[in-house]
Symmetry: C2
DNA sequence: GCTCATACTGACTGGCGAGTCAGCAAGGAG
DNA sequence: CTCCTTGCTGACTCGCCAGTCAGTATGAGC
């Protein structure tokens, strides 16, 4: 086994763990699965993270961080409020084979009982709605949107996106095309624009 | 141990299993938990259901059936389309301490990997949207609603309800009051009425 | 090239949980 | 009452998996 610096190994393990959770689900992910994926001993994984619980929590944290980084990158780009909102929505919607979304659905289920994970999920949710809210506020200030309740609108848009994503990833009953179409229509109606402004 | 007829025992066990899944989550529910809840031996549970997998599947089926029965009861009642729609939405929204919704979130996560459970979840979802769709169609025919795409509207309403329910039960970020308010507003906007018609 | 901190492992343990099985007894049929 | 079906159990097995530990070896720093 080639030795690695702690930081590097941890990163490697966390990435693999996230992937493994996406594949198997939260409670079904075994330390041995992760170890095999990284091609190290199970003892090493426990050496770095102590317990399985801690490993899973760290992995979720890692995934949350990665998503928030992407979000920050989108927010940093310039453009009209409508353009930025559009990018946020695109980022959030389930991608092709979407290992991301299966992770979140799993995380929700887990968060129902595990307060630590709930905190992570809630943080992520809050940041997304916050990003949408800010964009709406900016759009209202710029005269692009009309919206009396940006906070509420942001949360409703997020909720619809969550619900449609469940239909897409869990029930496999909805394609990405129609999903984005519906979301844009709803967002547009909430913001007093037309859907075309968001495409 | 008092002996029971097969049907009775199965029913008893299934009810307990549903409750236990709601409490612990799908994969964390042990046969022994169910057995203790019914106050029988684990061997008896396996005697009736063969394997844990089969038990869990049967339990979900049971829960689905119960929910669909309630739905059928609501549909059977008379009244305007708006009144019936309102009742459907009320039934679907998370109740107080909502053991029902935690079960569904769990079931979604499980359905991501287990095709048998996916079928159950999908059936339930389909029936709900179908009920909403029918009510919309009836309302349109009666001149109560205006809606060009009842199927789509039904699915969007369901999706928003799912998403808001996640915010309520998972993130604990939304009360029932505001949830129903938002849903009614959305439904009303989709159907060309005002929210007051749905309260 | 030596040293030493530390990344890493193999081999183990202990407990837990699904599923089995041989037999027991309740209670309806006759 | 007496069978005999069948609902039911205790006590078991067997495999799995998180976590431990004593020890190995790698490679950065000198």
């Amino acid at each position: 086994m080639t030795r690695r610096a702690v930081g590097v190994r941890r990163e490697e393990i966390l990435t693999a763990t996230v992937e493994e959770i996406g594949r198997r689900g939260f409670p079904q992910t075994r330390v041995a699965d992760v170890a095999r994926a990284v091609d190290v001993s199970t003892a090493l994984v426990l050496y770095h993270f102590g317990t399985k619980q801690a490993l899973l929590a760290a992995a979720l944290d890692h995934a949350v961080g990665r998503d928030l980084d992407r979000l920050a990158a989108v927010l940093a780009r310039t453009g009209s409020a409508a353009q930025r909102l559009r990018r946020i929505l695109d980022l959030y919607a389930p991608q092709g084979a979407a290992p991301g979304w299966t992770l979140w659905v799993d995380a929700w289920a887990e968060a129902l009982r595990n307060p630590e994970l709930r905190t992570h999920c809630r943080t992520l949710d809050r940041r997304w709605t916050e990003a949408i809210r800010e964009t709406i506020v900016a759009g209202v200030a710029a005269g692009e949107f009309r919206c009396a309740d940006p906070e509420g609108a942001a949360r409703r848009i997020t909720a619809l996106l969550d619900g449609l994503s469940v239909q897409a990833t869990v029930h496999r009953r909805l394609g990405r095309r129609r999903l984005t179409e519906w979301i844009r229509e709803y967002a547009a109606s909430q913001l007093g624009t037309d859907a075309a402004a968001l495409s």
